[in-house]
């Protein structure tokens, strides 16, 4: 019974997504709103402001460097958390 409910719910969610995706722009349209506001400025100014031809690296490390710093701290926290959860001394306090 559980699986039938789960199937019905996921089909309903899928149909809702299909209905809302029918109003999206066409695939690989050059005039869609995702590529109109900020990203032409990044592409045109990346060589004259930073002399780095790779637009992805210059956006990741220079224009959006704050996000990259916190994402590095996220993966550091995950490493520390796995260390803390799994390495416990059984009996007696081992440093």
């Amino acid at each position: 019974m559980n699986k039938v409910y789960a199937l019905i719910i996921s089909v309903i969610v899928g149909l809702l997504l299909v209905y809302s995706a029918s109003e999206f722009p066409k695939w690989s349209d050059p005039n869609q709103p995702a590529s109109l506001h900020v990203s032409p400025r990044y592409i045109e100014k990346t060589v004259e402001e930073t002399k780095v031809p790779n637009a992805v690296t210059s956006v990741l490390a220079d224009y959006r460097g704050y996000d990259t710093m916190f994402e590095t701290s996220v993966i550091f926290t995950a490493g520390v958390a796995v260390m803390m959860l799994l390495r416990r001394p059984k009996n007696g306090k081992r440093p």
Binding site: K3, A6, K26, W27, A34, V38
Partner: protein
């Protein structure tokens, strides 16, 4: 009507993958299979975002011939959108961190209860 289906077929494919991952998360009994369903969900959303950044007739966003760009302007219509690629790099790393910690929790649950099936764990917890 038929052209609307055919011109946006990337959305239909990724919505199918999202539904598969969502069903796997809810309906399966084993905790490991739920984790795999969550992983499928995560990666299909990343693929969906990357498919948004495509442009017809555009190429990889690495600016070629920078030395002759002093006389010639760089047109943004020649290169695809770099922003979804950048944001999804962060999302991929966050997904890897989440999977690592979830596998750790599964090891601890197995050590403590001896089983990975969800209903048996809930039975032991109720007592």
């Amino acid at each position: 009507m038929f052209e609307m289906i055919l011109s946006k077929y990337n959305y239909w494919m990724y919505i199918l993958l999202i539904m598969v991952g969502f069903y796997g998360m809810m309906a399966k009994n084993n905790l490991m299979k739920k984790l795999i369903g969550m992983n499928i969900f995560q990666w299909s959303i990343i693929l969906y975002y990357i498919s948004i950044g495509a442009k017809k007739g555009g190429t990889v966003p690495i600016i070629m011939d920078t030395h002759s760009a002093a006389g010639q302007a760089i047109r943004a219509i020649d290169y695809i959108n770099p922003l979804p690629h950048v944001l999804m790099l962060t999302a991929i790393v966050v997904g890897v961190a989440t999977t690592g910690i979830a596998l750790t929790l599964l090891i601890i649950i197995y050590k403590k209860y001896g089983t990975l099936e969800e209903d048996e764990v809930i039975e032991v917890l109720k007592k």
